[in-house]
């Protein structure tokens, strides 16, 4: 006799079957289960590189002697550096560094070869943008051995004294903006962007989907109101929330982590406004696509994952392959991270800021256009 109150495999099976049916019906969850592992697999295995190579550098070459050329080709052959531009003065190279256009600047001064041959230890200046210590640590550490190896080839015959001296070159490395390579300086300002992305996108996506799910949207639509009133009315309170979050993070980074704040806070507030608006636009768009609050949450996660992995927050941006960098350039967080680090650590001014800011604004406008087209004033 079977005990009717005992464990029943028939009932267990009934529940398993029901779960599978529901799983199959819920397309978005299904897409998540397949999509999230795929995205992570691709991003972590192909895009992310913790020992970045081919980092962009600007060179200033004031001496064209053979030893200078040897050093440059040794740097290039090390695969750490990629010379993306050659500029006439150090000042110009430093400006490119400040704008974040290059990661390094390498300057071979006048009379470099002559001084080297005389044994006068000429200066070789290498400046690095250390706002992201993860990207600069490797190449800077490898520099002395690359230089020594470069000179070894020539240090034969009459020039063998180059090999005997301790170091024939006065190598000066300036890790600018974060000379001690303190990771807090990079992570904490970056966190501002990450926190804002997560909360702003999610809150708005939920706020509008909730109205639809609970039936209050029908009520709202039956009242004399315009779509723009609803959207802006939904967004404004969260801009305030975004600023409160910004205040908290900045206060923490100043008082707890002692992150330097070189640039203008007003400028940072202005930049943050554009970023918050773009993130909210993403949220509004998700809310017009999602059927319910759970889908809105899932879409937020879909957006958040690449944002955090491809923006340069967790891993050096320039260490990623070109396709991943191109994807990253689309995301607002990528530009916002550069802006926050640029303003706080480098003291970037408005001219430097505008070069990145328009890309966030463009992203926001494109996304909001989709939202306005998708938003229905009727229940059709």
């Amino acid at each position: 006799m079977k005990n009717p109150h005992g464990f029943s495999f028939a009932r267990l099976w009934a529940i398993v079957v029901k779960e599978f049916i529901q799983m199959r019906r819920d397309r978005v969850t299904f897409a998540m289960m397949i999509g999230i592992p795929l995205i992570q697999l691709i991003l972590f295995s192909y895009a992310i590189n913790s020992d970045p190579r081919h980092l962009s550098a600007a060179i200033v070459v004031a001496d064209h002697g053979p030893q200078g050329r040897a050093i440059l080709s040794a740097l290039r052959n090390s695969t750490y550096f990629q010379f993306v531009r050659q500029v006439p003065t150090e000042a110009e190279a430093q400006a490119a560094l400040a704008r974040g256009e290059v990661q390094f600047m390498i300057s071979i001064p006048e009379h470099f070869t002559r001084d080297l041959l005389r044994g006068d230890r000429p200066t070789l200046l290498v400046e690095a943008d250390a706002t992201d210590p993860g990207a600069t640590g490797g190449p800077l550490g490898a520099l002395p051995s690359i230089l020594n190896a470069a000179l070894q080839n020539d240090a034969k015959g009459p020039l063998d004294y180059l090999a005997s001296t301790d170091s024939p070159i006065d190598l000066r490395i300036h890790a600018k903006y974060n000379p001690e390579a303190i990771t807090h300086y990079t992570i904490v300002p970056g966190l501002l962007g990450v926190v804002l992305t997560m909360t702003m996108v999610m809150i708005t996506a939920l706020a509008i989907t909730r109205e639809r799910e609970s039936g209050t949207m029908e009520n709202l639509l039956s009242m004399p109101t315009r779509p723009l009133e609803v959207m802006i009315g939904k967004i404004l309170p969260y801009i305030l929330v975004g600023y409160i979050q910004m205040g908290l993070i900045l206060a923490a980074s100043h008082f707890l982590f002692h992150v330097p704040m070189v640039g203008s806070l007003w400028l940072l507030m202005g930049v943050t406004l554009v970023f918050i608006a773009a993130s909210l636009a993403v949220g509004v768009t998700f809310s017009t696509l999602a059927q319910n609050q759970r889908q809105a949450m899932q879409m937020t996660l879909f957006f958040f994952l690449p944002s955090i992995l491809l923006s340069g927050f967790m891993f050096p941006f320039r260490g990623m392959p070109n396709w991943a960098q191109a994807l990253g350039e689309i995301l607002p967080l990528t530009h916002f991270l550069r802006l926050v680090r640029g303003i706080l650590l480098k003291g970037n001014g408005i001219d430097d800021v505008l070069r990145q800011l328009w890309q966030i604004a463009l992203f926001g406008v494109v996304v909001l256009t989709i939202a306005v087209f998708r938003y229905r004033r009727t229940l059709d």
């Binding site: 609970s214 039936g215 009520n219 039956s222 009727t378 059709d380």
Partner: protein, 308 residues
Amino acid sequence: MADEFAIDVKGMTKRFGKHTAVDHVDLQVRKGEVCGFLGPNGSGKTTFIRMLCGLLRADEGSGQCLGHDVIKDSDTIKRQVGYMTQKFSFWEDLTIEENLDFVARMYSIKNRRDTVRQSLDRLGLSARKDQLAGELSGGWKQRLALAACLIHEPQLLLLDEPTAGVDPIARRDFWKEIHELAGQGLTFLIATHYMDEAERCHRLAFIANGKLLTYGSVAEVVEQSHLTTWAVDGPDLLQLAEKLQALPGVEQAVPFGSILHISGPDQAALEQAIAPFRTAQYHWNQVPSGLEDVFIHLMEKPRETSSQ
């Protein structure tokens, strides 16, 4: 002429893909009238009401609602119409007062505070004004919804099954309120499934499968159906009902407590069918057809035609 009607529309049609939810419905409702809107689930009542208040765009149709073009002027109509949704659609995390205040702001009402206070008083909600809407029982939620629909002093109220899930006492109070408001000149279009509520309406419109089947006062609707009904009392009524149901001329055999109602559209055929059963043990007498008999008769008809 046009001023006589609050709703005067022709050929209203709405399609969702291949499915025609509302199929060329004409409807006229006089000002100050309470019009009951009847029909089975999924017959197109909600869709029709949503078209009237601009929540859905009509695919075809013309006419006026409160003197405004029903297709072009939906923004103007929205300001003068109160719409009560089938499902409670106010904000459950706001209090009663906050909900009313929000609605008053949406309609840009002058003397907002006074209006909200009066509205609370009139519907007896003052004592509960600080209660969250989500915590209210069905009857109180419905009161709040009605108060909110009335706050901008609309001339026409569209109520979509307003009393679903509301107890009989609250329902009676609700209908008393509606007749008072109708007396003041408000027009009502009320979708309902309850026959007792339908009988309280000045006029009835019956819709099934998106088509308007009948329209008129309760007496007119019953008369138009040409339905004859007999009531029978006696032993084994369920068995009797089964036997009668199978006979030609008998459309329905429905138990009402200890009595069975037998009805059919053809009086002669019906009487012929019941003749063999008019024995001493049964007590037969002809009764006027009720609205429910007519309702079921109308619901069966489209099913028969569609199955052919």
